[in-house]
Amino acid sequence: MFREMMVTFSEFLRNFGAMWLFFLRLLQLSPSVMVTRFRLVAYQVHNAGALSIVIIMISGLFVGGVLGLQAYSSLEKFNAEDSTGIFAGLGLIKEIGPVITALLFAGRAGTALASEIGLMKATDQLSAMEMMAVDPLRYVVVPRFLGGIISMPLLTAVFTTIGLLGAHLVAVEMLGVDVGAYWQQMQSVLDMDDIREGIIKSVVFGLITSLVAVWEGYNCVPTAEGVGRATTRTVVVSAIAVLIFNFMITATFL
């Protein structure tokens, strides 16, 4: 039992170390890929980012709506329903926006990245590139990694904006909070630091989810089962990592 745990733990450490080295290698290649293969990166921003917009917008609308509803019904007890905007704004910009966008991104784009790279590996496409003297890290992995990192803050901004409108829709249009109070109170309490926290989180989460996705895909066992498992692990590992890092970043900023 104890032995097995030690083995599992040492395996975890080995994986973790290998992932770090992989991450450093990606960072090392990133600048040159950004310059010489910008078209591939742009295509991946489209692939990971633009194609995720619809799901991000729909989710943003409803998450914003439920925040508005919840904030209103809680604050109303203290006759403070005018502060609904503060509640919705702080919640969306600092916590819920980045976190839910990252979770959705891992589910929508992360799995697509992992399974795509995994399938390319399983069908020898990555080896074929290598044999044509084209580094698959430069051609396949780094553009997807960068595409994810660039997409994430943009998607978070979309999610948060739509969320604020959703909260507005519920609180102001449906429940009758004064429109001036909603936006003005939000403005007076929120400052640049809050927005900066949201942006930092979205960049970090973009890095985590993209790294996990390309790592799992690139290192999967090249079989149907292996690709399936890589896809599942992408979601699980990304989600846990995002939630842990969210807590740590919030704790750092407070």
Binding site: M120, T123, D124, Q125, S127, A128, M129, E130, M131, M132, A133, V134, D135
Partner: protein, 234 residues
């Protein structure tokens, strides 16, 4: 040549340094490839053309782009010249008309031919075929065998063909090695191998079901396993 699982594909991967040897040296054209840096290795690999077992075409590009891939990556030729080269290569394998198809639209035999066109796109010195005949119908197989010979002679290159198909290899090969258990069991021209005195080579060349390579995978004694103690079975 050799029975399945004797390390034929592994040997190819060693020659192209997809794998590194634990022991020993791999010398390609006078250089020990284990010592090469990545850029030197890539330079060497440009002189290789590799045909993978199932083609390994890049599925998100058309046939034309697949053949053009290495040319675009390694040269700065103008588009008109690339078009010229790619169409020539596709014509050589008889698939000029399929240039705009996607890999998913190709049959197994066509995909293998496109992969062959891609392998010769950069005019390699050494062409490597990994099981080029597996899973093809007789006609496609005939086409590949014919192309293999033609390309080898027309481009004046070295071709390395890995296969367990005795019949087709002896039809095209000038010289063959038979691998068994990770070692060279015999070598020679196809004629010499056919008349070999070695039991194993004879078994392999004539496709005998039992011989040095046993019909049965290693197993405990038959009677004992069926009639004996239970724990053997679980």
């Amino acid at each position: 040549m050799g029975p399945s699982g004797t390390g034929k594909t592994t040997l190819l991967q060693l020659i192209t340094r997809q794998l590194r040897p634990d022991r020993g040296q791999v010398i390609v054209d006078g250089t020990d490839i284990a010592t090469l840096s990545q850029s030197e290795l890539y330079k060497l690999r440009r002189r290789f053309g590799v045909l993978f077992q199932h083609g390994a075409l890049l599925t998100d590009m058309s046939v034309f782009e697949n053949v053009a891939f290495a040319i675009r990556e390694h040269t700065h030729l103008p588009e008109s010249l690339i078009r010229h080269v790619v169409l020539t290569k596709l014509h050589a394998v008889g698939l000029r008309g399929a240039a705009d198809l996607m890999p998913a639209q190709l049959s197994g035999g066509m995909a293998r031919r496109v992969a062959l066109a891609r392998a010769i796109a950069m005019d390699p010195d050494i062409l490597i075929y990994d099981e080029p005949f597996v899973g093809l119908d007789p006609i496609s197989m005939g086409v590949i065998v014919k192309l293999l010979g033609q390309i080898n002679d027309a481009l004046n290159i070295t071709s390395i063909v890995v296969s367990h198909d005795v019949h087709d290899v002896t039809a095209v090969a000038d010289y063959s090695y038979v691998l068994a258990d990770g070692k060279v069991a015999a070598e020679g021209t196809p004629e010499e191998l056919k008349n070999s005195s070695s039991e194993l080579v004879r078994q392999f060349m004539h496709g005998l079901p039992d011989g040095p390579v046993g019909f049965h995978y290693d197993a405990p004694d038959y009677d004992e396993q069926l009639l004996g103690k239970r724990r053997d079975v679980s």
